[in-house]
Subunit: 196 residues, 2 copies
């Protein structure tokens, strides 16, 4: 069984792509981030709610503050990566829904009037968009290093606000020396897929 996707693209996005822990000094430009976003923005979300928000941590001062919020094992690589992005979910995404879902603008009020509904929806769909973003980083020929090990409350307070929940921090750049360990095993399809 062969896929429609070109094997080189399969390798670039999944088979050869790896989470990087070291990077070269080559900068990651705003133009690259824009190209990544302009590709992955088309990935589907529920009601096209598109809750992902991206904070690029570029200034040395901001980078130092972020590194201070990271788990110890994530600090050196977050300090050294050419670019670091905070991926967050906008819990007030419903404000944009009438524009994002023009054929059903009342979804904002019918389904998402309550913050208790919006928060888990933003988290689920934001995580999906974070995955699309990681694929997009790889599509740009770069490596991503997504991390959950940080003080989420501190990152939210320091870089976001009460309406934006941090999902992960992602180092971005070209892989450097010894960028990863050996590939960890994956579950077989037989362990993951069942049929009823």
């Amino acid at each position: 069984m062969s896929l429609a996707l070109d094997p080189a693209a399969q390798d670039l996005l999944f088979r050869e792509a790896r989470t990087a822990n070291t990077f070269t000094d080559e900068p990651v430009t705003d133009e690259q981030v824009q190209a990544i976003y302009d590709l992955v923005k088309y990935g589907p979300t529920a009601f096209n709610q598109s809750p992902l928000r991206i904070v690029l941590v570029r200034s040395p001062e901001a980078r130092e503050r972020l590194v201070g919020h990271m788990a110890e094992g994530n600090r050196a690589k977050t300090a050294a990566a050419p670019l670091v992005a905070i991926l967050a979910a906008d819990n007030e995404f419903h404000e944009e829904l009438p524009r994002l879902l023009p054929h059903f603008p009342q979804a904002k009020d019918v389904f998402f009037a309550s913050r208790e509904v919006r928060e888990p929806s933003a988290r689920l769909n934001g995580a999906m968009q974070a995955a699309y973003f990681i694929i997009g980083v790889r599509a740009a020929g770069l490596a991503a290093g997504p991390m959950n090990g940080f003080d989420h409350a501190a990152v939210q307070k320091d870089f976001l606000d009460e309406d934006h929940t941090p999902l992960m921090v992602v180092n971005i750049g070209r892989p450097g020396p010894d960028a990863w360990l050996g590939r960890s095993p994956r579950l077989d399809a037989g362990e993951v897929v069942t049929t009823v």
Copy 2:
């Protein structure tokens, strides 16, 4: 700024790909699902926890039960799709961690001893894997129709167990006539990306 990914692959996975609401009768085989899984299993998750589990709803009896749990607007397409998959998060994913993370097998006990920690982690990383799966469906030349509109408690009770939380239901097949409305707008990069 051009991406490393071939433009045809960009179109297949993101630019031309669309959420389908109608499908042809062409079956989706187990071999296709295996090929999709064997590609997207390499997408990254935190600690390689890989919490996604997939239930293929193939028997007419099971399909009828699932359709009964769907929101009214999702019933006809879920009844008609060549294949329907329930994507779920395994909240007991830590049992596999010593095998999935051989360089740090103690992660199971150090980080994931508590169900209160595992559930949100399985949900976040399961959502990322669901996104990889949707990309994989497209990589197979098929269209996906992911849906959140269903009775989650009923689907969990009927098709899963208390350790597995449904994330979404996905219709899969080749797009049929009038498979989608016009493309809904996306947020501009300037609305999503900020720099500090």
